[in-house]
């Protein structure tokens, strides 16, 4: 038997232990005002592409700080629904919709609301990691500031970069290469960099459109851990094809389905545990148990 002695090597080798939560929160409130996880309510959303109706009166309540998973087979309108939540739906020229999306009670589609403000408050992560190739990792994180015209001094930016990268659980991997281009990272790191970039503008809601579908299992796990650590700080809505992922990361689950030739609807939604263990609708049961889809 050998005895182990505890040797004190925990003393940090660098002089600063890193930015504290309070200091980071202070910087964020200086730049963006008070921000907190927001409650997002979709009220009777109907959506069309040209003459084709793709969603029919879909309502869903996404509680502040919770993780809501949207599941369902391809073409059921869940990505369209997600893109409606931060007005990215309008980028398609033929798209139109009816209904209301309320962030903390205010309709983001109200004529007085600025589209850029809605998108800053409701961030989005895409299927394919898309860091800006011409920018360094540092500049990628603060790109949102420049893009949305928020002025920040060097110190505020520095704090924001460290805090956002830490929240996205990628700080330790990139802290020594902040000036290098973001395109040099692995796919999973790029995706977490994109999460950090979204978090840098202090969104109240973060939408994720199949964020792990282009990633390997290890990177997927890191992204899921990131989602886990963001729970409570920001409301998350995640579209996923991976049932296990929905089960692992979400508090609430909504099951979308579109039968042949009819628009997509929510068949059933509720607590994730209940949705997977004792769904009321047969189709939900079949889908979450892998009978189809």
């Amino acid at each position: 038997m050998t005895t182990t002695t505890f040797d004190r090597t925990v003393a940090p080798s660098d002089p600063y232990p890193g930015v504290s939560r309070d200091a980071a929160a202070e910087v964020r409130s200086e730049l963006f005002g008070e921000s907190h996880a927001g409650e997002l309510v979709a009220d009777s959303i109907t959506a069309w592409f040209g003459e084709r109706k793709v969603l029919d009166r879909v309502s869903l309540d996404m509680k502040a700080g919770e993780v809501t998973a949207l599941i369902g087979p391809s073409g059921c309108g869940k990505s369209t629904f997600l893109r409606i939540l931060n007005r990215m739906h309008e980028m398609v020229p033929t798209a139109s919709l009816a209904g209301e999306v309320r962030l903390d009670g205010a309709d983001i589609y109200a004529p007085a609301e600025k589209i850029t403000a809605a998108r800053r408050n409701i961030g989005m992560i895409f299927q394919k990691p898309n860091p800006f190739p011409a920018m360094s990792i540092y500049d990628n994180v603060v790109a949102g500031l420049k893009l949305s015209g928020v002025r920040a001094n060097r110190e505020q930016k520095d704090v924001l970069v460290e805090d956002s990268l830490k929240k996205a659980a990628i700080w330790d991997e990139v802290k020594d290469r902040l000036d290098q281009p973001g395109g040099g990272l692995s796919g999973g790191q790029q995706q977490r960099l994109c999460i950090a970039r979204s978090l840098a503008v202090s969104p109240r809601v973060l939408l994720m459109d199949e964020p792990c579908s282009a990633l390997d299992p290890t990177s997927t796990r890191r992204v899921e851990e990131t989602i886990e650590s963001l729970r409570g700080q920001v409301t998350i809505v995640i579209v996923t094809h991976n049932m296990q992922q929905a089960h692992r990361v979400s508090d609430k689950t909504a099951f979308f389905l579109a039968s042949l030739g009819t628009p997509g609807v929510i068949i059933e939604h509720g607590d994730t545990q209940a949705m997977f263990d004792r769904p009321q609708d047969q189709r939900t049961y079949d889908y979450v148990n892998g009978v189809f889809g």
């Binding site: 309070d22 800006f132 802290k175």
Partner: protein
């Protein structure tokens, strides 16, 4: 359904089994024989033999027998070459291989013809201009080797020697006219390309069709248009600015087209990423798309410049002809390089013709430099950096990290001071205190 494989299923191995291919390979020690791909010695000898045979046949028919003229000799030789080569391959190979070799030799000779014609143009120009160009390499004392580009033709008679007179006036004309044309076309071209590639819509399709039609515009028409609109109506005399406008008309569609092609390569998800961060359309274009496509846009600008520099017909109608240096593009004639070459060569005097070809060689060199630049810049993808630059960035990254840490520290102190005046000023000392307490 979760967790480890139950041990008993591992112990009870099923009847069907798996294969371990590396085990069987360990007994074989020698490497497998390589299979050669590509042209064999036999092929190369056939080509060489057929070439010799073809040329020999040509010389025989033209020179010894006099059956054909010398002008026909290359064509007859080539026909014999193809014939001999086809027969040679037919002897050694079967159906598809013969057809394959026959067509590849035809296509390769087509490529040779293309490259050779370019080579002939370049070599011919250099040879004819050599009496002038050779001064560059003649290190004579008291004589500037670059005098041809640093003097103009004022006071130089048609019989003057080649050591006097030069094309400074044309160099200045070209620089000023292309400069003005760039000032006009770059903003117009890049914004039009952004409109076509990013804004889009029905009107963009109309504009794209128009731009494509404009690339086919005969250059003399552009010259006539400017002549009618600017010179006849306003200036009433030939000038460099009118020439620059005519060149702009021709450069613009080329620039728009190549910039449009470059911008359409922007991945759509980059645009979405910008917009999803709360950026306006303009901000996304300016801060995300243009920086990403910087190299493609630069290439578009350089290609258009290279085209514009060589334009002769519109300049002929608008800039006027002179052989003295004129710095003012708005008054009096201002000749550019292609026009100077044309005038020299048309003069019919040997010394002037040599100067003309030297001018043409200058033009070739400028265009070559521009194309090389375009290739170099166009080959750079945004975000791809060289190994040396990566090392430099690694160094600056360390400095950035130090700065980020210092900023965090400063903010920590500020936050601590703001919240609790009695709190220790340095969070590190609090950390140290914790450790010492622990030790005690």
């Amino acid at each position: 359904m979760t967790g480890t494989l139950p041990l008993d299923t591992v112990a009870a191995a099923p009847a069907t089994t798996t294969h371990l291919p590396r085990l069987a390979l360990t007994e074989q020690t020698e490497e497998p024989q390589r299979v050669r791909v590509g042209a064999s010695l036999d092929d190369r000898l056939s080509i060489a033999g057929a070439t010799v045979g073809g040329i020999g046949m040509g010389i025989l028919l033209a020179g010894a027998l006099g059956v054909i003229g010398w002008g026909w000799m290359p064509i007859v030789s080539y026909a014999w070459f193809v014939g001999i080569y086809a027969s040679l391959t037919f002897l050694g190979h079967s159906g598809p291989a013969v057809v394959d070799r026959f067509w590849s030799v035809l296509l390769r000779s087509a490529a040779v013809v293309v490259v050779a014609s370019l080579g002939i143009v370049v070599v011919y120009t250099l040879l004819r201009g050599w009496p002038v160009l050779k001064d560059v390499f003649a290190f004579a004392p008291h004589k500037n080797p670059l005098h041809f580009w640093l003097t103009d033709m004022s006071g130089v008679g048609p019989l003057s020697g080649l050591d006097t007179g030069g094309i400074l006036y044309a160099v200045i004309g070209t620089l000023e006219q292309i400069g003005i044309a760039l000032v006009i076309t770059v903003p117009l071209g890049v914004t039009s390309a952004i409109f076509l590639a990013i804004v889009g819509g029905r009107y963009a399709r109309v504009v794209r069709t128009l731009v494509e039609a404009m690339t086919a515009l005969p250059s003399v028409v552009a010259g006539l248009f400017i002549y009618a609109v600017i010179i006849l109506s306003f200036t009433h005399q030939d000038n460099g600015f009118a020439a620059a406008l005519a060149i702009s008309v021709l450069m613009l569609p080329i620039m728009i087209r190549s910039a449009d092609v470059a911008l359409r390569l922007v991945p759509g998800n980059l645009r979405e990423a910008g917009l999803a961060l709360g950026a306006s359309q303009w901000s996304t274009v300016w801060r995300v798309i243009l920086p990403t496509m910087r190299s493609g846009l630069t290439t578009a600008i350089i290609l258009a410049t290279a085209h514009g520099i060589g334009e002769t017909a519109p300049v002929l109608l608008t800039s006027g002809v002179t052989s003295v240096t004129n710095f003012d593009p708005f008054h009096n004639a201002q000749t550019s390089l292609p026009l100077a070459a044309l005038e020299f060569i048309e003069s019919g005097r040997n010394t002037l013709i040599a100067r003309g070809y030297a001018t043409a060689a200058t033009l070739l060199a400028v265009v070559l430099i521009l194309f090389v630049l375009a290739r170099l810049i166009g080959g750079q993808e945004a975000g791809k950096v060289s190994a040396g630059r990566l090392r430099r960035l690694a160094r600056t990254s360390r400095a950035t990290l130090r700065r980020v840490r210092a900023s965090g520290h400063a903010r920590n102190l500020a936050a601590a001071a703001g919240r609790d005046p009695d709190a220790p000023l340095d969070p590190l000392s609090a950390f140290d205190q914790l450790i010492t307490e622990d030790d005690a």
